[in-house]
C-alpha cells in the first residue's frame, strides 16, 4: 500500500507537465482523485488495513492527498494566467508609435502671458477683463487723451459706423465705438465699478490700424497693470518693475527708467532692461514696458479723489516680450500657426 501511494505521487509528478488546459487538468484530476481514480482505489483499500497500521497508513494517505492538491493548484494557476494572457493577444512592441498621436500645447503668446501674469499674481494682482470693442470714452477720454490726439485719428484706430450697436459694451454718452488700442480701457471700467484699493492686471487683444510687417500686426496683445492705494509712489513703481524684470529675465537683469510722455500717467517712463546673460540680447538697453503714476485727471474721470489716492500703471506688449525672450524676428509667425513654430514652445 505504501508502495502504491509512492507510485501515485510519482505518476502525478511525471504527468503534470503534460497538462496545459483546463480539460487536461480535469482529466488528470479524475485519473487520480475521481470516483475511479487511483488514489480513490487505494483509499477504498483502507478498510483492509490492520488496526495497528491504520494510523501510519492514514497519515501517509493524507500526505499524498495534500501533495496532489498542491500539484493541482499549481497547475490551475498556470492555466489561469495562460488564459488571461490569451485574452490580450500577443505581446506588443513597446517602441511602436502611438497611432494618430498628436502633441497638444499652448500658444507661445499664451505662455508668455501666463508667465507675466503669474509674476504679478505673486504680489497681489488679479486678472480683469473687458470688451475688445470699446468706446472713445473708455479708450481715450477717460484716459486724459485730448480729442484731437493723433492716436485717436481714423488713420490709426479702427472705428465702427455710427449705426452699429454693441450690446456688451456700455457707452458713457453716445460716443463712437472702436476696437480698443490698449487694455487701459479695462482699468477705467474696473475703477468705475470698484472702490480703491485696486490691484489688477489686464491682459488682452488690442488693435492698431497698421499695415502688417515684421514688427507690426493687425492685432497684438498687451498686459497692463494698475495699482491704486494711499501713498503709492514713484519708488513703488520702480520696485515693482525691478521685481518684474528680475523675475522674468533673471536676477542679473538691470532696469532703467527713461522719462517719457503718456497722457494718462504723470510722471511717465519707458522702462529699458539689459540682460547680458541673454545671448541674443547682449548688454544693450532694450525697451520693454511703459509705466507711470496715474494722472490726476484719470482719477477725476472715474470719480476717485486724486488728493486721497495715488496709483501706478504699467503696460507691455506680449508679442514684443515673446520676441525678446525667444529671439523671434517676425511678429507674423505668431499668427501663422505653423506647427513647427508652435511646438518649439511646448513645455
Amino acid at each position: 500500500m505504501e508502495a502504491d501511494l509512492q507510485s501515485i505521487l510519482e505518476k502525478a509528478r511525471a504527468g503534470a507537465p503534460e497538462v496545459s488546459s483546463r480539460p487536461d487538468l480535469e482529466t488528470f484530476k479524475a485519473s487520480l482523485v475521481g470516483p475511479n481514480g487511483e488514489l480513490t482505489k487505494v483509499m477504498k483499500g483502507m478498510k483492509d488495513v490492520s488496526k495497528e497500521d491504520k494510523p501510519r497508513i492514514g497519515k501517509l494517505l493524507n500526505q499524498t492527498k495534500n501533495e496532489l492538491e498542491d500539484i493541482f493548484s499549481r497547475l490551475n494557476k498556470v492555466i489561469e494566467s495562460n488564459e488571461m494572457a490569451a485574452r490580450l493577444g500577443p505581446p506588443v512592441d513597446p517602441s511602436l508609435p502611438v497611432p494618430g498621436f498628436h502633441a497638444g500645447g499652448f500658444h507661445p503668446l499664451t505662455q508668455v502671458r501666463e508667465k507675466i501674469i503669474s509674476i504679478f499674481q505673486k504680489v497681489g494682482f488679479t486678472i480683469a477683463e473687458g470688451p475688445e470693442v470699446e468706446t472713445e470714452y473708455f479708450c481715450f477720454d477717460a484716459l486724459n487723451t485730448p480729442s484731437d490726439h493723433p492716436a485717436r485719428d481714423a488713420q490709426d484706430t479702427y472705428y465702427f459706423p455710427g449705426k452699429t450697436r454693441f450690446t456688451e459694451t456700455t457707452q458713457q454718452k453716445r460716443e463712437r465705438y472702436l476696437l480698443r488700442t490698449h487694455t487701459s480701457s479695462v482699468q477705467i471700467r474696473t475703477m468705475m465699478k470698484n472702490e480703491p484699493p485696486i490691484r489688477i492686471i489686464s491682459p488682452g487683444r488690442c488693435f492698431r490700424r497698421d499695415t502688417a510687417d515684421a514688427t507690426h500686426s493687425a492685432n497684438f496683445h498687451q498686459v497692463e497693470g494698475l495699482y491704486v492705494d494711499r501713498n503709492v509712489s514713484v519708488k513703488d513703481l520702480k520696485a515693482l518693475l525691478d521685481y518684474f524684470i528680475k523675475s522674468l529675465l533673471g536676477p542679473s537683469a538691470q532696469t532703467r527708467f527713461r522719462p517719457h510722455f503718456f497722457p494718462y500717467t504723470e510722471p511717465s517712463f519707458e522702462v529699458d532692461f539689459s540682460a547680458s546673460h541673454l545671448g541674443k540680447v547682449g548688454s544693450r538697453w532694450i525697451e520693454i514696458a511703459g509705466c507711470g503714476m496715474v494722472h490726476p485727471s484719470v482719477f477725476e474721470s472715474v470719480g476717485y479723489d486724486p488728493e486721497e489716492w495715488s496709483g501706478l500703471a504699467f503696460g507691455m506688449g506680449i508679442e514684443r516680450i515673446a520676441m525678446i525672450l525667444y529671439g523671434v524676428d517676425d511678429i507674423r509667425y505668431f499668427y501663422q500657426n505653423d506647427h513647427r513654430f508652435l511646438q518649439q514652445f511646448h513645455q
Binding site: 497611432p99 514713484v234 520696485a239
Partner: protein, 819 residues
C-alpha cells in the same frame, strides 16, 4: 529731431563725451535714436597734393615711386605708394612728415625698400573720412594744392537723432535741448544775443511794404505779428549757416530763407518771410480758405484747400497755408528787395488737422501743432531780424504790425514738501529741488503755510505749457534729479482680495481641457473678410460686423467665429505637411442679432482627419459624438450641463455645418451661451483644400453669463443599498429623437415608482435599425435603475413598478415594446 553738437555748443560749454551726452539726453527723457559722427579730426599736417609723376619702385613690384607737389612753388616730394587707383594729375590727401593720423599713426620720412619716402598719400579711411581703405581718396573737386585737408572737408561734428515727446514742444529747438542739458549737467546756459536795431534812415516808407493786417480767423490765429525790412540783398548764406543747416539735413536756399529756418531750429518758433513786392494790395489777410481754393505750395504741388483751413492771403490769393507751408507766389528769391517777416501763434489743433488733411508735415507745422511758446514770438523775430540785417543788409522799418495778443495766462503752481515726498517716495533735498527749478527757469519762492507745511510757489514760464499741476513738478524733479537715483525698494505686496475675472478663468479651463486632449492652441486675426463672412454666415448679418475704416478687404469685418481662422491654419499646415491635425483657439467673437452686435467669449476646436492620414493601425474615426463629448466637457467647466437643454438643428441659422451631423444647444441672446458642434460642411471644407473629416465645436458665452452666480452643489445623502436594474427595448418611428423617448420613459418611471422606492435613471444602451423591425422604425433599449433609501429592493416590488411602466408604454402612441 537732429541735433548738431557744434551748433548746440553755441548755447552751453559742453565738455562732455558723446556717450555722456547720449546718456544724459536719454535719462532726461529724450531718447537718442542714433548718433552720426562725421567730418575729419584735426589734421594740421595733412594737405592737398597733386601727383606729378609715377614710376615703378626699382625693388618692389607692388610699389610706385611718385613725385607729388604739396605746395605751389616748392620742390615736389618723393612719396612711395602701394595703391594703384590713381593717375598722374590726380589730387589726393598727403600726410606730411610729422602728421599724426587717426589711431595715433605717426608719419615720418623713411626709407621704403631703399627709396626715401617723404610722407604718405592717404585713403579715406586713413584720414578718418568714411570707411573706404582700398585706394587713395581722389579729390575730384580739385582743391588747390597745399590746402589743409580740414578746409576741404567740413568741421567734424556729431549729430544726435533725438526723440522729443509730444508734450515738450519747447525742446523742438536747440535752445530747449540746451536748457535741459544745462539743467542736468548744472552748466551755464546762454540764450543767443539780440542787439538793438539801428534807427531807420527815413529813406523808406514802411507802408509801401505793407500797410496792415486783417485778422478774419481770430480763433485759429490768436496772435500775428509782421515786421518790415527794406533793402535787403538776397544772396547765398555765409558758410557757418550753410554748414549748420546741412548738418541737420536741410538744403540751404538763400540768406533770408536760411535765417528763418535757422531761427526755427534754434528757438522753435517758425517764421515766414514774404517778398513784400509780391503782396498785392499791401495788406495781409488772415482768413479761412474757400472750399476748393487752390495754392501752389513751395514743394511744387498744387493743393486744394477747404473752409476749415486757415491761410495768409493778400487781396487776390492765398500766399501761405497758415503754419504749414508758403506758396511760390510770395517766395523770397534773388530779386527780392523788401521783405515782410511773419512771426505768429496758430492754434495747434487747427494746424494739425490742416497738415494731416493735406498730407503735408513740415518743420513748421510740426512745431505749431504741438504748441510754440506764445510769448516767444517777439524774441524769435528779433533774433531773425538781427541776423538778416547782419548778413543780408537792409533796415528794419518800425513799428511792427500786430493783430491779436499773446493768450498765455500767467500760471503758478503750489508744490508742498509732503506732496513731493509722498509721490516720489524717497527724499530729495530742498537744495536740489531749488537748483532744478532754477535751471529749468521755474521762478519760485519757498514758503510755509500757516499750519506749518512747507511749499514752493512756482511760476511757470510760457514755453512750458505741459506743466499745470503739482504732479507735473514732481516729474520735473524726479527727471532732473535722475531716475537712476530712485532707490531700490521692496514690492508692497498684499494678499489677493479679488478673484480673477470669470472670462480669464473660463479661458484657462478651456485651454487646459483641450491641451489635455492633444489640441494645439492657435491665434488668428480678429478682422476677416466680408466675402468669407457672407459665405459662412447669413448674408444679412455681414453688414453689422464691418469696421468703418478697414485697411484692406481681407480685414474688414469682425470675426463671427473662430473656425474659419482655424481652417486656414489647418490648410497652411496641411500644405506644409507639418502633421498638425487638432487645433483650438479662445477669443472674442461677434454675433449680429436684430441689427445689434453681441460680443461673446468663445472657444473653438477643430480636429481634421485627413483622407491621406496613415497609421500602422486603423483608428476609430472621430465623428459627431467626439465633438459632442468635448463640447460637453467644455460646457461643464463653466457649469453648464448641456443635457439639461433642448438640442436643435443648426441648419436654419448657419450653412457652415454638415446637415445631419451637427447640432446646437442654447442661444447667445436667450440663454447667454450657445454651443454648436459636429462636422463642418464637407463642401465648405473643400474650399479650404481640406479633404477629409473636420470635427469641430464652438462654445460661446457672454461675459455676463460667465459672471453669473452659480449655485454651489447641494449635498444629497447616499445609502449603501444596491440598485435593481431592468432592461426594456422600445420600438419607435425612425425620426423620433432618443432623448425625447428617454425623457418620456423617465417621466413614466418617476410617476409609477411612488415614494417607497425611486427610479434613479433611464440609460440608453442600444440603438438598432434593420431586420425584424417594421419599416421606418428603430429599436431603443434602455436600462431602468431603481433604488430604495432604506432597504435592498425585492424582485417583486421592482417587477410591479416595472410592469406599470411597461403598461404606460403600451398606452403611448408611437411606442411599442419590442417582444
Amino acid at each position: 529731431m537732429k541735433i548738431s553738437k557744434n551748433w548746440l555748443s553755441n548755447y552751453l560749454e559742453l565738455n562732455k563725451t558723446n556717450e555722456e551726452i547720449e546718456q544724459a539726453l536719454t535719462l532726461i527723457g529724450f531718447e537718442v535714436e542714433g548718433i552720426d559722427e562725421w567730418g575729419l579730426p584735426d589734421l594740421p599736417e595733412v594737405v592737398v597734393g597733386e601727383v606729378l609723376r609715377r614710376e615703378p619702385h626699382p625693388d618692389a613690384d607692388r610699389l610706385s615711386v611718385c613725385s607729388v607737389l604739396v605746395k605751389d612753388g616748392e620742390e615736389p616730394s618723393t612719396i612711395v605708394c602701394g595703391a594703384d587707383n590713381y593717375k598722374v594729375g590726380d589730387r589726393v590727401p598727403v600726410a606730411l612728415p610729422g602728421a599724426v593720423l587717426p589711431g595715433g599713426f605717426k608719419i615720418k620720412a623713411a626709407k621704403l625698400r631703399g627709396v626715401m619716402s617723404q610722407g604718405m598719400m592717404c585713403s579715406g579711411r586713413e584720414i578718418g573720412y568714411g570707411t573706404d581703405g582700398k585706394g587713395l581718396l581722389i579729390l575730384s573737386e580739385r582743391p588747390a594744392v597745399g590746402t589743409p585737408i580740414n578746409q576741404v572737408f567740413p568741421d567734424p561734428d556729431v549729430i544726435f537723432d533725438v526723440e522729443v515727446t509730444p508734450n515738450r514742444p519747447d525742446c523742438l529747438s536747440y535752445v530747449g535741448i540746451a536748457r535741459e542739458l544745462a539743467a542736468y549737467f548744472r552748466l551755464d546756459f546762454n540764450y543767443p544775443d539780440v542787439e538793438n536795431f539801428p534807427e531807420p534812415s527815413g529813406d523808406y516808407n514802411p507802408d509801401t511794404l505793407l500797410k496792415g493786417i486783417t485778422l478774419d480767423a481770430e480763433e485759429d490765429c490768436p496772435h500775428y505779428t509782421a515786421w518790415r525790412i527794406a533793402g535787403v540783398k538776397v544772396e547765398p548764406s555765409p558758410s557757418w549757416l550753410v554748414q549748420n543747416l546741412r548738418s541737420i539735413g536741410l538744403r540751404p536756399i538763400n540768406n533770408v530763407v536760411d535765417i528763418t529756418n535757422f531761427v526755427l531750429h534754434e528757438l522753435g518758433q517758425p517764421l515766414h518771410a514774404f517778398d513784400a513786392a509780391k503782396i498785392e494790395g499791401r495788406r495781409l489777410i488772415i482768413r479761412h480758405a474757400a472750399d476748393g481754393e487752390k495754392i501752389f505750395t513751395l514743394d511744387g504741388k498744387q493743393r486744394t484747400l477747404r473752409r476749415d483751413m486757415t491761410v495768409i492771403a493778400d487781396a487776390k490769393k492765398a500766399l501761405v497755408v497758415a503754419g504749414v507751408m508758403g506758396s511760390e507766389d510770395a517766395e523770397v528769391d534773388e530779386k527780392t528787395i523788401d521783405i515782410v517777416l511773419e512771426s505768429a501763434y496758430f492754434r495747434p489743433s487747427q494746424v494739425r488737422s490742416t497738415a494731416r488733411r493735406l498730407g503735408l508735415s513740415t518743420d513748421s507745422s510740426y512745431r505749431f501743432e504741438r504748441g510754440v511758446d506764445p510769448r516767444g514770438i517777439g524774441f524769435a523775430a528779433e533774433r531773425a531780424i538781427g541776423l538778416i540785417l547782419q548778413y543780408a543788409g537792409g533796415e528794419l522799418l518800425p513799428p511792427r504790425l500786430e493783430v491779436g495778443a499773446p493768450f498765455h495766462l500767467k500760471r503758478e503752481i503750489e508744490l508742498t514738501r509732503p506732496f513731493l515726498d509722498q509721490r516720489a517716495g524717497y527724499p530729495i533735498p530742498n537744495r536740489e529741488v531749488e537748483e532744478i527749478f532754477t535751471a529749468l527757469e521755474l521762478n519760485f519762492s519757498a514758503r510755509v503755510h500757516r499750519e506749518g507745511t512747507a511749499y514752493w510757489n512756482v511760476e511757470i514760464p510760457s514755453f512750458r505749457g505741459d506743466l499745470d499741476s503739482p504732479i507735473d513738478l514732481v516729474e520735473e524733479i524726479v527727471r532732473m534729479y535722475g531716475t537712476d537715483r530712485i532707490p531700490a525698494g521692496e514690492v508692497r505686496g498684499i494678499g489677493l482680495t479679488r478673484e480673477d475675472d470669470a472670462v480669464a478663468r473660463a479661458n484657462r479651463r478651456f485651454g487646459q481641457i483641450l491641451v489635455g486632449q492633444s489640441y494645439q492652441e492657435c491665434l488668428t486675426y480678429t478682422l476677416r473678410s466680408g466675402e468669407e463672412l457672407k459665405k459662412w454666415y447669413r448674408a444679412g448679418g455681414a453688414e453689422a460686423l464691418g469696421v468703418m475704416n478697414p485697411l484692406s478687404v481681407e480685414q474688414s469685418h469682425l470675426r463671427w467665429s473662430l473656425i474659419p481662422g482655424l481652417l486656414e491654419t489647418l490648410r497652411l499646415n496641411a500644405f506644409r505637411k507639418t502633421g498638425m491635425s487638432r487645433v483650438f483657439e479662445t477669443g472674442h467673437t461677434y454675433y449680429e442679432r436684430d441689427g445689434a452686435v453681441v460680443e461673446a467669449n468663445s472657444v473653438s476646436f477643430v480636429h481634421f482627419l485627413s483622407d491621406q492620414e496613415r497609421a500602422w493601425r486603423k483608428l476609430e474615426a472621430p465623428d459627431f459624438f467626439s465633438a459632442k463629448s468635448l463640447i460637453r466637457q467644455l460646457a461643464s467647466s463653466i457649469q453648464i450641463d448641456l443635457e439639461q437643454y433642448p438640442i436643435n438643428d443648426i441648419r436654419l441659422t448657419n450653412s457652415a455645418w454638415q446637415d445631419g451631423h451637427s447640432a446646437m444647444i442654447g442661444d447667445l441672446v436667450d440663454y447667454g451661451f450657445e454651443a454648436r458642434f459636429g462636422l463642418i460642411n464637407l463642401a465648405l471644407a473643400k474650399t479650404y483644400d481640406l479633404e477629409g473629416v473636420l470635427v469641430a465645436g464652438v462654445l460661446s458665452a457672454t461675459t455676463r453669463f460667465l459672471e453669473r452666480d452659480c449655485r454651489p452643489p447641494v449635498y444629497q445623502p447616499i445609502n449603501h443599498f444596491p440598485a435593481a436594474e431592468r432592461d426594456l427595448a422600445v420600438v419607435v418611428p425612425q425620426q423620433r429623437q432618443a432623448g425625447e423617448v428617454a425623457a418620456t420613459l423617465q417621466e413614466f418611471g418617476r410617476e409609477e415608482s411612488g415614494h417607497s422606492l425611486q427610479m434613479e435613471s433611464v440609460k440608453l444602451f442600444d440603438c438598432y435599425e434593420g431586420k425584424g423591425l417594421p419599416e421606418g422604425h428603430k429599436s431603443l433599449a434602455f436600462t431602468f435603475s431603481f433604488r430604495a433609501e432604506d432597504r435592498t429592493l425585492t424582485d417583486d416590488e421592482v417587477n410591479e413598478v416595472f410592469r406599470k411602466i411597461q403598461f404606460r408604454v403600451t398606452q403611448t402612441k408611437d411606442l411599442t415594446i419590442r417582444g
